[in-house]
C-alpha cells in the first residue's frame, strides 16, 4: 500500500510543478494586455481567450489571462488586477463576476493610467470602466421573443410559456434576456429590471437552471407538472435548453413544444439544425475579445479611446438570430451559417 501511494503522491507533485512552470513564461518585453474572465472552464470564455490571443499576436502585445475559480468569485479578479498593475500592463479586459465589488480595483488601475474594458457584462456603474464591449442581451432576448410571437401567430396557437432562468439573484444578464424575450413576445413586463413581476396569464411559471443541463431538466420537469399545457419554453442558455428538451421528450411533449434560447454555441446550433431548439440568438465572444485587445493596443500606441455604438451606452458586438424556421418580419440566419460562426 505504502509504495504505490508514495509514488502517486510524487507523481502529483511533479505534475503540479511542471504545470506551474508552463503557466509562468513571462516577460517578452512587449506591452502587456490582461484578460480576466469569470471562469476558465466555460467554453464561452475559452473562446474569448482564443480571440484575445489571436488579436494579441496580430497587434504584437503580450496577453496575460486570469480567471475566477467559479462564477461570482470576485476575489480572484481583484488579485488579477493587482498582478496586472505590478506587471505595468497597459490595460485589461474583464468579464466581472461582481459588477459592483470590482469597481474599487478598477479605480486603482485607472490611477496608473490603464485602459479598462468590461467584456460581456457591464460593471456597475457602467462608466467606471472606459468602455463595455458586449452582446445586447435585451436585444438577444427580444429577437427570440419576436420570432416566437410570429410563429405562434402564424400557427394560430395560444402560448403557454415556461421561463427557465439562471438563478434567484436577478443578475443583469438573466434579467435582460428574460425581459427582452417577454417584451419581444408582446407581454407587458412591468419593471424591466425585475424577473417575475409580470402577471400575464400566458406565463405558466419560472424556475432556475444554473445555466446547465441538469438544472434545465429538473426545472422543466417541475414546471410541466405544474402546468401540462406549456408549449413555449424560454431558456437562459443552450445547455439549459438541452436539459429542458430531455424533460419534454420524457413527457412525450417535445414534438409540440417550441424551445427558444440564447448563446450560439456550436452544440446549441446543432440542436437548432436538429429541430430541438426552434431559434437561438448567437453572440460573438471571439469578436468581443478581439475588438477589446485591438482597443487596448490602440490606446497603448497613441492614447485613442474606444467609442460606443450610437444610441447605446456600450459597444454592441452584435447578436444574430439563428433558426431553420424563419418567420416573416424577423431577420435570421440558418443553422448552416450558424455552424460556420458558432463558438465552443
Amino acid at each position: 500500500m505504502r509504495d504505490p501511494g508514495r509514488l502517486l503522491a510524487l507523481g502529483c507533485v511533479v505534475t503540479l510543478l511542471t504545470g506551474t512552470a508552463t503557466a509562468c513564461n513571462r516577460g517578452s518585453g512587449e506591452d502587456v494586455v490582461g484578460l480576466i474572465t469569470k471562469t476558465d472552464t466555460n467554453p464561452f470564455f475559452v473562446q474569448m481567450r482564443k480571440g484575445a490571443q489571436s488579436a494579441a499576436e496580430q497587434q504584437g502585445v503580450e496577453l496575460q489571462t486570469f480567471a475566477g475559480k467559479q462564477d461570482g468569485d470576485n476575489e480572484a479578479q481583484v488579485q488579477a488586477i493587482e498582478n496586472l498593475m505590478s506587471f505595468g500592463a497597459k490595460g485589461f479586459l474583464i468579464t466581472p463576476n461582481d459588477s459592483k465589488a470590482i469597481v474599487p480595483s478598477i479605480d486603482k488601475a485607472h490611477e496608473v493610467d490603464m485602459l479598462v474594458i468590461a467584456l460581456d457584462t457591464p460593471v456597475d456603474p457602467p462608466n467606471a470602466a472606459d468602455a463595455t464591449f458586449a452582446t445586447d442581451n435585451y436585444q438577444a432576448g427580444k429577437l427570440i421573443g419576436q420570432w416566437a410571437r410570429a410563429k405562434f401567430e402564424k400557427d394560430g396557437k395560444e402560448a403557454r410559456i415556461a421561463m427557465l432562468d439562471l438563478n434567484a439573484n436577478q443578475v443583469s444578464v438573466d434579467v435582460k434576456r428574460d425581459q427582452g424575450f417577454l417584451d419581444g413576445f408582446g407581454i407587458d413586463i412591468g419593471d424591466p429590471n425585475r424577473i417575475g413581476d409580470e402577471n400575464d396569464p400566458r406565463i405558466a411559471g419560472h424556475d432556475v437552471t444554473d445555466g446547465a443541463e441538469e438544472g434545465g431538466r429538473t426545472a422543466m420537469e417541475n414546471l410541466l407538472q405544474k402546468d401540462s399545457s406549456i408549449n413555449l419554453v424560454y431558456t437562459i442558455n443552450e445547455p439549459a435548453a438541452a436539459g429542458a428538451h430531455l424533460a419534454l421528450q420524457a413527457a412525450g411533449k417535445d414534438k409540440d413544444t417550441v424551445i427558444v434560447s440564447i448563446d450560439g454555441g456550436c452544440p446549441g446550433v446543432d440542436n437548432v439544425a436538429k429541430g430541438i431548439i426552434g431559434a437561438t440568438s448567437m453572440q460573438f465572444p471571439l469578436k468581443m475579445a478581439q475588438l477589446g485587445v485591438d482597443a487596448i493596443a490602440a490606446y497603448a500606441k497613441d492614447g485613442t479611446r474606444p467609442q460606443v455604438t450610437p444610441g447605446k451606452d456600450f459597444y454592441d458586438t452584435g447578436t444574430e438570430l439563428i433558426t431553420d424556421d424563419p418567420q416573416a418580419g424577423v431577420e435570421a440566419k440558418d443553422s448552416t451559417w450558424g455552424k460556420q460562426n458558432c463558438w465552443g
Partner: protein, 337 residues
C-alpha cells in the same frame, strides 16, 4: 464531544420530551421520515398533482444522482470525516467514461469499468492523504475537489460530450421501466440496490461495525484492535467508487456528459446526509436516513414549485430544514442514558 449545556430543566412535559428524545436516539431515521411524510401530505393538499405517480417518479429521478453521492458521503461522515470532492469525482468520472469511449474508441463496458476504476482511485487518493499523511478530511477533499474539477476541465476541454456519440451502455441508466404511470429509471434501481447493499453491510458485517466504531471514538476503536486507518481508507475508496457510479447515472439523466454540472453536488450531498439524521460528529446515522434526506430535498423543491412558491424561498426552506436537522441532532445527543 460532550455538550457543555447545563442539565435539563425538569419541566412538566419532560417525560414526553425525554421519551421522544430516546425514541429518536434509538431510531435516528424517525425524525427525517416524519418530516418527509408531513411534507408529502402538505404538498398533496396544496396541489392535487403532487401525489400522482408521474410526479413522484420525477422526484425520484431528480434525486437519484445526489442520493448515490450522498450514500458515499454517509460512509465518510459516519467516520466523522467529510468529503467535499464528491461532486468533482462524480462529474470527472462521467467525463472520463465519455472520453474513453468517444475519443479512445473503447467499448462501452471497458470505458465504464475504467471510469469506475478512476473514481475509486480518486477516492483512494483522499483516503491515502487522510490516513497516511494524517491530514484533516476537510482540507484534503477541499484540495482534491479543486484538482479534480481542474482536470475535468482539461480533459473535457469544457465541452459537453453527446450521449448519441457514446455506446448505449453509457446512457442506459436513463432508460426506464414503466410501472403504470410511474417511470422507474435503471439509474434509480441501481441507486436503490446500492442503498440496500450498504444498509446490510453497515448493520451486519464486521466492516460495518468497524465504520461505526471508528466514527464514534477512533482512539477507543484502535485500542479495541480495530485497524482504524484501514477502515478509513476503505471508506474513502468505496465512496470514490460510489461517486463514479453516480457519474454514470448522471450521464443517463443528461443524455450527455457535461463538465459544467455538479458544482454544488458536494454540498447537496452533505445536505442530504445531514437531513437524514446522520451526525457530523461521526458514529451515528444510517444510509436509509440519507435516502430519506435526499428525498426531502427533492420533494420540497418539486412541491414548492407546484405550490407556486418563488425560487428564492425554495432555497430558504431547504436551508432552514438543515438547521433544524442539526439542532435536532444536537438535542438527541444530550439524551440521558
Amino acid at each position: 464531544m460532550s455538550s457543555t449545556t447545563a442539565d435539563f430543566d425538569v419541566r412538566k412535559d419532560d417525560s414526553l420530551g425525554l421519551r421522544i428524545q430516546h425514541l429518536l436516539h434509538s431510531n435516528p431515521v424517525l425524525g427525517p421520515l416524519a418530516v418527509l411524510v408531513v411534507a408529502i401530505i402538505a404538498f398533496s393538499i396544496v396541489n392535487g398533482r403532487f401525489l400522482t405517480a408521474t410526479n413522484l417518479s420525477l422526484v425520484l429521478q431528480q434525486v437519484t444522482v445526489i442520493a448515490t453521492l450522498a450514500l458515499g458521503q454517509t460512509l465518510i461522515i459516519l467516520t466523522a470525516g467529510i468529503d467535499l470532492s464528491a461532486g468533482a469525482i462524480a462529474v470527472f468520472s462521467s467525463i472520463l467514461m465519455a472520453t474513453f469511449c468517444v475519443d479512445a474508441g473503447m467499448p462501452g463496458i471497458v470505458a465504464l469499468l475504467l471510469g469506475f476504476a478512476c473514481g475509486t482511485a480518486m477516492g483512494a487518493i483522499n483516503g491515502f492523504l487522510v490516513t497516511r499523511m494524517k491530514l484533516p478530511p476537510f482540507i484534503v477533499t477541499l484540495g482534491t475537489l479543486t484538482i479534480f474539477f481542474s482536470l475535468n476541465s482539461v480533459v473535457s476541454n469544457s465541452e459537453t460530450v453527446r450521449g448519441t456519440d457514446m455506446p448505449g451502455l453509457m446512457t442506459w441508466t436513463g432508460n426506464s421501466i414503466p410501472i403504470g404511470d410511474f417511470r422507474l429509471t435503471y439509474g434509480s434501481i441501481i441507486m436503490l440496490l446500492l442503498f440496500g447493499f450498504f444498509f446490510y453491510a453497515l448493520g451486519n458485517t464486521a466492516w460495518g461495525k468497524h465504520v461505526y466504531a471508528t466514527g464514534d471514538d477512533s482512539e477507543a476503536a484502535r485500542l479495541a484492535g480495530i485497524q482504524t486507518n484501514r477502515v478509513l481508507f476503505s471508506v474513502y475508496t468505496v465512496a470514490g467508487l460510489l461517486y463514479a457510479i453516480g457519474g454514470w447515472i448522471l450521464i443517463g439523466r443528461l443524455a450527455s456528459a457535461s463538465p459544467n454540472v455538479g458544482v454544488e453536488y458536494n454540498l447537496d450531498s452533505i445536505t442530504a446526509v445531514v437531513l437524514g439524521g446522520t451526525s457530523l460528529f461521526g458514529g451515528r446515522g444510517s444510509v436509509i436516513g440519507t435516502l430519506i434526506g435526499a428525498l426531502i430535498v427533492g420533494v420540497f423543491r418539486n412541491g414548492l414549485q407546484l405550490g407556486g412558491v418563488e425560487v428564492v424561498w425554495q432555497g430558504f426552506a431547504i436551508g432552514l430544514l438543515v438547521l433544524v436537522a442539526v439542532s435536532l441532532d444536537q438535542w438527541i445527543r444530550k439524551v440521558r442514558t
